[in-house]
């Protein structure tokens, strides 16, 4: 198994982001190999997306196929470059203890999950691209696939964020003891310096395996979570607009190949137009 594939597999399984793995507030993800995995997965999806141009009536448009294979990785990396600085700054502004490296690891990990799901849906997109001539249908199918994979990527991010910013077991144990010192028997609390949390704390930290399930009982820092939630919305909008800037991805069958289109309209107007055309 290739190292990049093995690391991506560990992220997907949730092993790379489990409580054991991120005890230091960092995930310790191998960023170079994950970035390589992101590049390869996005290129794979680009190839699948390019089937629409490759199996067009009147012969394949090889240049469009190559263009989309290059553009899908660009879409993700450029969106990351544009949105990451603001995420880190606002994360720091609200007083989060996540460092720059930790935030970057989290973002790369969630993008890796996103593109893995995207690439796994590639064969379905390729099949419909080969068998369908309708441009609006393929456009909407791709938007739907990007949306679904993005939602799963964000789900992964929220869950992993919960693990990273959750109070450490010893802190919870100490907090519990402090609050119960006057009213409960002191013997229930762990001795000072003990790393072993009390039984109720352990129960709260029981997690489900996998990477998009629920982590029960975690206390999320509301402000950090709000920053990340806002960032998710912003990065979705940026990604959509970036896709519009980098268009054409599929290439309209009625138009000759071009690397980029002129600046006009916007992503959402185009999606609505495709939806309207589909029904007409």
């Amino acid at each position: 198994m290739k190292p990049w594939w093995r690391d991506l597999d560990r992220v997907l399984r949730g092993e790379a982001t489990s409580l054991d793995a991120n005890g230091e507030g960092r995930l310790g993800l191998p960023l170079d190999r994950l970035l390589l995995a992101i590049l390869l997965m996005t290129m794979a999806y680009g190839v699948c997306m390019g089937f629409y141009a490759g199996f067009r009536e009147g012969g394949p448009v090889v240049a469009q196929w190559l263009a989309v294979t290059a553009k899908v990785p660009c879409l993700f990396f450029l969106t990351l470059v544009v949105t990451f600085p603001s995420l880190y700054v606002f994360n720091a502004l609200v007083g989060s203890r996540l460092t720059l490296a930790a935030v970057f690891e989290l973002v790369v990990g969630s993008v890796a999950v996103n593109v893995a799901v995207l690439a796994s849906l590639g064969p379905i997109v390729a099949f419909f691209s080969v068998s369908t001539t309708s441009y609006p249908f393929i456009l909407l199918l791709n938007v739907l696939v990007f949306l679904l994979s993005g939602m799963l990527g964000f789900g992964f991010m929220l869950r992993t964020l919960g693990r990273m910013i959750a109070p450490r077991p010893e802190c919870i144990a100490q907090q519990q003891c402090d609050s119960r010192h006057d009213s409960l028997a002191e013997t229930e609390c762990p001795p000072e310096g003990s790393e072993e949390p009390s039984t109720p704390v352990k129960a709260r930290l029981v997690e489900e395996p996998g990477s998009i399930g629920g982590l029960r009982g975690c206390l999320l820092e509301w402000r950090v979570r709000t920053v990340f939630a806002c960032w998710m919305m912003v990065s979705t909008l940026v990604c959509a607009q970036m896709a519009w800037v980098l268009r054409p991805f599929l290439g309209k069958p009625s138009e000759p190949f071009q690397w980029f289109c002129a600046r006009e309209s916007n992503f959402f107007a185009a999606v609505w137009e495709a939806f309207r055309t589909l029904l007409m």
Binding site: V117, P123, I124, F127, S131, T132, G210, G213
Partner: protein
Amino acid sequence: MNGLWVHIDEILRCRQTAQSRPARAVLLSMIACIVTFGMVYGAVMGSFGGIGGQRLWQAIYSALKVPLLLVGTSLIAWPSFFVLNTLAGLRGDFVRATTALMAAQAGLAIVLASLAPLTIVWYASSSDYGDALRFNGVMFAIACLAGQWLLRDHYRVLIEGDPRHRRMFWIWLGLYVFVAIQMAWVLRPFVGDPNAPVEFLRREKWGNAYLVVVRLIYEALVH
């Protein structure tokens, strides 16, 4: 021959997941079942206009296309199912889940083959092409329901072990149906109009099954 019947019986009674044979051997035998029984029904399905002359080719084409429909759909939907299972933390059960999926497909093919004699009787009783299409639609619907029944039975064990498999069960059905409808549309004609030339795939544009349905609904609502 006795082994074959035992194997069919095991699939229909959902005993595959309990047996001790290696997973690879079980999967291969199920794929063999899908191909064999799919071909049986496909050959019958394509014999609507008889099997003389060029019409023999329609029976052969249909015999190839039914297994292609079942196996091709599974292959296309399988990668996303794999990643979603991994993400949900169910990778440890994935071989069993795949075995359950293939058992359901094999069951579907067996049910189809068992309905083939009914199709022959129908073809012998009616020469209307539209009726033949509708009859085959009903046969496929029955086989699909039986396949889903089997899948639910195979998945019951998995769901008892981990309730998250229930979500994966519905996700698989969604993916499978989404791809299968288009695959069936692309691979048509299965029955073959006796008045039209025999062909493996329609020469006209492939089109899109969903667009046809959306337009039909739109036209029914607007006009």
